[in-house]
């Protein structure tokens, strides 16, 4: 409870806003107390490492992989992309500011002028378009490398997604929350079915991760995305993962960086408020 009050206070100070959106504060508290009851022995900060907080064997394996991370070259490539000048002489710093450590944690946020949720990856694309550059593909490759580099420079900072006192912003948050709790697809699963109610259980050999702490470590490098048949290099954005989840339950995925997934990210990232960024990371 103290932590929430502190988080709420920080948010007020940071935004100069009059009040924190009550529904968001309630949701965060409700999820925290749910997991505290479900896994009383797991310390709050451990949720940042996802499902590995719940299984000692898998945690040892994960720690081993992190000693020689499979994604370092791609993060270095992301740094090159950050430093590269556009044809017009600008660069990503023109859009995001010179201090790369102050970028990741500003997203997702509400853009009051355009009345929409902005995400880091969405603004990377916007920046390219504004500067006449050919935009990256939306889910993997360059966009994930750049996002991973930017996130890595914010490691240790505390996530604090703010829903401002604006009915449109609150509606976007509620829309994302509804997406998370509504069953969908031919297999009739909600995000919450796996990542709240059944988290800690196994779907075949896969340990279902708790929603709390999901967004601390994105973009992620996943073993299953590195397989040759996936034609990828392992890296993917948060919205790529959303699409994968929706496909698994046999729902038609929404467009990466579209309104549905951006609103979902607004709610989803809120559930990691108070946790530290530690990105990128390895996942099965």
């Amino acid at each position: 409870m103290k932590k929430i009050v502190i988080t709420a206070l920080t948010a007020c100070l940071a935004m100069g806003a009059s009040a924190v959106y009550a529904s968001q504060a309630d949701d965060i508290q409700s999820v925290r107390s749910y997991f505290k009851k479900k896994f009383p022995k797991v310390p709050f900060d451990d949720y940042a490492i996802g499902a590995y907080s719940l299984n000692a064997d898998k945690r040892i394996n994960w720690e081993g992989i992190r000693e020689f991370p499979p994604f370092e070259d791609q993060v270095a490539h992301g740094e090159e992309l950050w430093n590269k000048k556009f044809a017009n002489g600008n660069s990503f710093a023109t859009c995001f500011g010179d201090d790369v450590s102050q970028v990741r944690n500003r997203f997702p946020h509400w853009n009051a002028r355009d009345k929409k949720v902005e995400t880091l990856e969405g603004n990377i694309i916007q920046c390219q378009q504004a500067n006449g550059e050919k935009p990256f593909k939306l889910k993997k490759g360059d966009i994930a490398h750049l996002s991973a580099y930017i996130a890595s420079q914010a490691n240790g900072q505390t996530i604090n997604v703010v829903v401002p006192d604006d009915p449109d912003a609150q509606a976007a948050y509620e829309d994302g929350k509804h997406h998370f709790y509504a069953k969908r697809g031919q297999l009739n699963f909600s995000c919450a079915d796996c990542h709240v109610y059944n988290s800690g259980m196994n779907a075949r050999g896969n340990l279902l991760s708790p929603v709390m702490g999901h967004t601390t470590h994105f973009p992620v490098w996943r073993g299953s995305w590195a397989r040759k048949d996936k034609k990828g290099d392992g890296f993917g954005t948060l919205h790529r993962r959303y699409g994968g989840c929706n496909k698994q339950v046999r729902a038609k995925p929404f467009k990466a960086q579209g309104k549905e997934y951006s609103n979902l990210e607004f709610f989803h990232a809120s559930m990691s408020n108070g946790m530290k960024i530690e990105a990128p990371d390895y996942r099965e």
């Binding site: 509804h178 509504a182 031919q186 109610y197 729902a251």
Partner: protein
């Protein structure tokens, strides 16, 4: 006389078959339109499923390609296989109806914790 009978019989048979084919095509087109309407309705409430008409779906094989049920219906119709075309148009329609019903049932979904 025998020749005459043969020709008449043949003609009658041809007319019957082409009439059947026309009837098949009409029934397929009607079902296809119903499937599209059902899927549009599901889409309007964000309730579309993966394999109904998503262009990257790999649910059904037609020729040497894999595709969604609606695309498969169109593919089989093109090949003149109206029986299979009807089957997959019917599945697409069913999925549209169920996706809509599901989304409406989930309208008030929220946390239960």
């Amino acid at each position: 006389m025998k020749k005459m009978t043969l020709i008449v019989t043949l003609l009658a048979a041809m007319m019957a078959t082409s009439g059947l084919a026309v009837a098949d095509e009409a029934a397929y087109k009607k079902l296809h339109a119903e499937a599209v309407a059902a899927l549009d309705k599901a889409k309007s409430v964000k309730g579309e499923w993966r394999d109904s008409r998503w262009k990257k779906s790999k649910a059904v094989k037609c020729g040497d390609k894999k595709m969604s049920h609606l695309h498969a219906a169109e593919c089989f119709a093109k090949e003149g296989d109206y029986k299979k075309a009807m089957k997959h148009a019917g599945i697409a329609k069913f999925q549209g109806e169920m996706g809509y019903e599901q989304a409406m049932g989930q309208k008030t979904a929220g946390p239960r914790h």
